[in-house]
Symmetry: C2
Subunit: 264 residues, 2 copies
């Protein structure tokens, strides 16, 4: 039987709330099984860009990561946020070790290709982008990898990469070796039938149900990429994939309770 591995993604809203983040990291540090944390960015990078007068570039409503913006997100995500999370986890006796995808070539991305838009320093990744063997070796040393959403191309460039996708591809890559459970943590109880009603959690969503919900316009914009990455994971042999509320991490793991499960 494969050993259990939790891959847990947290997002910007949590990172922007120090108290909530601390509570979450407490729950995370208490997980006894092997685990990996993937974190997004939060508002800090945007705030810093504003203060420095670096404008957010948009083309056809899509965000572009120019060199100045990349320099900011690399500093903020891989430096400020990542190292603060690692230090807080170390305080909680969790043997955290922070990474970008450039470190040890753990995640090698390709610059996003698009017929009309040059997205700048945005990297796309897939299952084979992940240095599965080395991550396994690091986990065997009882280390707890903490990934920021920065990757590289092995040509000397850093890239901004979607953190939901990073969590999904790491989960896919490690599923041949581990019994992986991928948890997308966010500020809702799960995927909600009615976004105003926290009791309207949909217990599970299959690929087909996802298409139906999407076409019916029932999924609010922020949750779409999360669900697409979650589906990508289950289609690529990740054993379990859930969207859960951040504050429910411990409850979910101990009581197998709550959230929305994504299935085939």
């Amino acid at each position: 039987m494969k050993e259990k591995l939790y891959i847990i993604k947290i997002g910007g809203a949590l990172i922007d709330d120090p108290e909530l983040l601390d509570q979450f990291l407490e729950q995370f540090s208490e997980i006894k099984e092997k685990k990996i944390l993937v974190h997004g960015g939060g508002k800090l990078a945007t705030t810093l860009a504003d203060k420095l007068g670096v404008e957010q570039k948009m083309i056809n409503g899509r965000r572009i990561t120019d060199k100045e913006t990349l320099d900011i997100v690399a500093m903020v995500y891989a430096g400020g946020i990542n190292k603060n999370i690692v230090a807080k986890l170390q305080q909680k006796k969790c043997q955290a070790i922070g990474f970008s995808g450039a470190d040890a070539n753990l995640i090698k991305a390709k610059k996003r290709e698009h017929a009309e838009i040059d997205f700048g320093f945005v990297g796309d990744i897939e299952k084979k982008s992940v240095n599965r063997k080395l991550i396994s070796k690091l986990i065997k040393l009882k280390l707890v990898p903490v990934f920021s959403a920065i990757t590289h191309d092995k040509k000397g460039n850093l890239f901004n990469t979607n953190a939901d996708t990073i969590a999904s591809v790491i989960a896919q890559a490690l599923s041949s070796k581990y019994d992986v459970e991928l948890l997308y943590c966010f500020d809702k109880e799960g995927v909600l039938e009615d976004v105003e009603n926290p009791e309207s959690v949909i217990g599970n969503i299959s690929e087909e149900e996802f298409s139906v919900l999407k076409q019916a316009g029932k999924l609010h914009k922020g949750i779409l990429p999360k669900l697409e990455n979650a589906l990508g994971a289950v289609k690529n042999k990740v054993n379990k994939v859930f969207l859960i509320k951040e504050t429910q991490l411990k409850n979910h793991i101990e009581n197998h309770h709550g959230g929305t499960e994504i299935c085939l």
Copy 2:
């Protein structure tokens, strides 16, 4: 016989010069023996602090690292600079992996204690601060650690720590296992008898000679802490310690030539 390990420190001036840095990293990546890189900060943190209106606090002429300054140096050193160096080394087929001292608790510091001055988030370290066993395990995985000058206290705080000292204590800690050669790389040919004359390199300096030179006022201010850290290393069983010119790294390693050797 112990295996050879180079521990190489580079400073701010090199980091501020992209072309020179690239040439240095090329030479570094070509070293066949086991190796570790430690880097300082450069002007980027100060420039960023200026732009953000964060003033440099001084007490009795000593620099204080307040929380705002710490946040900036953590981002710049452990994020921006560290990940860019790692990406460049990866491009050159060097299996670099970037660390702060918080990562995997590799370097645990103590907040600087001083009778009159509160230095803020400044961490002091010694030989036993270094997680020697884990660094050895990472080196065995053929990884090339790249350390930024950020440490932590295992109580959730990050610290600003002198990069020369980091290189020295890592060298000390690893000398029981490896045949360590510690190289402080900077922009001079070595310690100069006459700072205006690059041909006046002092071939070697003992502890006694250091005291004489220091009292005679013959050592310019910038080189003092480097020499003190270098002496600390030889006194703690580091096999070889040199101060060399950055551009001479390859020449030094291949031809055992140039620079100033520090000895007991």
